[in-house]
């Protein structure tokens, strides 16, 4: 059982075998490879947790909308003419087609292309196309009681909009626990707000989606997998130290992060020589502004640390040279679609924006110097689960019987506290 965020006694379920006295934490590979587990996981985890759908800057003005898939559902997120933000299932109530074929835009109505039903931007059905057609429907059909189907829950935190398909789920802030403050650290980078930068990386990985979550805040894979990237960074930094110290932290609810203190440069706001003299003044002024606004301690956290966080169960936020959000669509037990998008302060200069993007691209993304090697490892791991009879994965690194695994835990970044926090929450929901 879990007492005071710490596992007490030998705990066994279908998915976990945790023995604190032996410092052993094992996860069954069926959690990655079994189609039946994936089906169950949708019902018990993915449809019951808060999933990021987008950012407020994408629907800044009345009429703005985005159409996006979350988990396996096609959704519309819009700001109606009165400024109210809404989320709907993107399907006509009449016979099914999507009422919006663009990925984003601005409109006051959504029209189904099949039979011409017209919905107002608050979702209500206005007309079937013409007064003659409307007259053939039952009395009161267009009085506003029919609407695009709203997504059961929609809430926001620090500019990020989340949806939840469970009407009875606890609120977003209760769900996020201490991760909410980590999201706020991103919003704190800007005085005029953060904005989504154009261009999205969309790529498939033939592996279970949880493998990418694990990989994103796994400290001990950096040396073996990213040797060639580290050698590149050494060349970029030209003698500056790449020495880092880092801590893994658990925030409750399965959310966790690693935080690394390394002088690798950040657009907000850590200037290093390789960024170039031309942006030095802007970065240093930004740092001063952040420190004055947030105080020394929090300012330092925003400007000087590099942080990868997983918001349970499928949202990854890399807060480094830039802010990269990876929203994962779990397609099958052995396949995911990654949708990675990036954010920067609205007030950022074009010169610094360019540096933000090129520095990040060198590391992250399917054409970068690091992400492709992660993808290779994930796909090899998945193959290992499916093509051998081995049952258990080991997450014991750095595990001690008194570890506050679920919340408030702090460990060296090269340990596996962050994954243990994830798996404990996952098991709680799956075993419920």
């Amino acid at each position: 059982m879990v007492k005071d965020m710490t596992i007490t006694g030998h705990y066994q379920s279908r998915y976990l075998d945790v023995n604190p006295e032996k410092s052993s934490f094992l996860v069954h590979r069926d959690a990655y490879r079994c189609p039946e587990v994936f089906r169950l996981e949708k019902e018990k985890v993915l449809y019951k947790t808060w999933i990021i759908i987008g950012h407020e800057s994408e629907i800044a003005n009345p009429g703005d909308y985005i159409a996006r898939t979350v988990i396996d559902k096609d959704l519309l997120l819009n700001r109606d003419r009165n400024g109210v933000v809404r989320a709907f299932f993107n399907s006509c109530r009449h016979r099914g087609p999507s009422v919006c074929r663009e990925k984003s835009g601005n409109r006051k109505t959504f029209v189904c292309p099949y039979h011409g039903w017209v919905y107002k931007d608050d979702g209500t059905l206005m007309t079937s196309g013409t007064p003659e057609s409307d007259a053939t429907f039952p009395e009161g059909f267009f009085d506003g009681h029919i609407s695009l189907m709203p997504v059961p829950r929609l809430e926001s935190c620090a500019g990020f909009y989340f949806v939840n398909f469970d009407p009875d789920a606890p609120g977003l802030l209760d769900f996020l626990e201490d991760a909410a403050d980590r999201l706020q650290l991103i919003d704190d980078q800007a005085t005029t707000g953060m904005e989504v930068i154009r261009g999205v990386h969309e790529y498939e990985i033939n592996a279970n989606y949880k493998l990418l979550c694990e990989n994103s805040y796994d400290g001990s894979h950096l040396g073996p997998v990213h040797q060639s990237y580290i050698e590149y960074m050494m060349d970029v930094l030209k003698g500056e130290s790449l020495n880092s110290v880092g801590l893994a932290k658990s925030f409750g609810g399965g959310h966790a992060s690693f935080e690394i203190w390394v002088r690798a440069g950040r657009a907000v706001a850590q200037w290093i020589p390789s960024m170039g003299e031309e942006v030095r003044a802007e970065v240093e002024a930004k740092k001063k502004e952040v420190y004055e606004r947030l105080g020394e301690e929090r300012g330092k956290l925003v400007c000087e640390s590099h942080r990868n966080m997983v918001i349970f169960p499928n949202s990854i936020i890399n807060d480094q040279q830039s802010v990269l959000v990876r929203s994962i669509i779990p397609v099958a037990q052995n396949k995911m679609l990654v949708r990675a998008w990036t954010l920067g302060p609205k007030e950022e200069s074009p010169a610094l924006r360019e540096i933000r993007l090129t520095n990040m691209l060198a590391f992250l993304g399917p054409g970068g110097f690091a992400t492709p090697d992660d993808v290779a490892m994930l796909e090899m791991a998945q193959r290992g689960y499916e093509a051998t009879d081995i049952e258990w994965n080991d997450f014991s690194k750095g595990y001690t019987p008194d570890e506050k695994t679920l919340k408030g835990g702090v460990s060296d970044v090269n340990n596996e506290l962050q994954m243990r926090a994830y798996w404990l929450q996952w098991d709680r929901m799956m075993s419920a």
Binding site: I197, G199, Y203, Y229, L357, V375
Partner: protein, 167 residues
């Protein structure tokens, strides 16, 4: 400096040689086909956008946006055993067609061509269809790339999610 006017056959000879270097994974020979100037750019546009002609990597997140330095570093990485994503290496076939000379001066050429790059790895084959826009420079050693911009027709990177070959 060769200032003579060049025709499509001259350009095709150069491009077919470039494709051959890539398909043989001869990275040293390939990088030698690039100009040494500061204005060198190798770009792959993001698959999320339908209209890419006005997009620039300074303000849009591309898939790849290398300058001369990063392109050299990419070559170094591509030759390492620690380049896990290409262990084993993909086999590629670069098919180029519809080559056009859009503009020509004494020193430079703007060209475009269609490309279909076949990539085979781990028992799968994918195709990368694209329009390539390039700037070539006439040098005493022959033609050199100043810019190669691959405008991908794909809507996402499917099947092989990491773009670890050169297009």
């Amino acid at each position: 400096m060769t200032s003579a006017q060049m025709n499509r056959l001259d350009i095709e000879d150069f491009l077919f040689h470039e494709a051959d270097c890539l398909d043989r994974w001869d990275m040293d020979a390939w990088i030698a086909l690039w100009d040494s100037g500061d204005d060198v750019a190798y770009e792959v546009t993001p698959t999320s956008e339908r209209e890419v002609s006005d997009l620039a990597p300074e303000s849009t997140m591309f898939l790849i946006a290398d300058n001369r330095y990063r392109l050299e570093q990419r070559m170094i990485r591509m030759k390492k055993n620690s380049f896990h994503a290409e262990y084993h290496r993909s086999r590629t076939r670069h098919m180029y067609g519809h080559v056009r000379i859009l503009a020509q001066t004494d020193t430079d050429l703007d060209i475009s061509f269609n490309a279909a790059v076949y990539r085979t790895k781990d028992e799968k084959t994918v195709v990368y269809p694209s329009l390539v826009r390039a700037k070539l420079r006439k040098t005493p050693q022959g033609l050199r790339f100043v810019k190669k911009r691959i405008e991908l027709d794909l809507e996402r990177l499917a099947t092989m999610g990491a773009l670890t070959i050169l297009l």
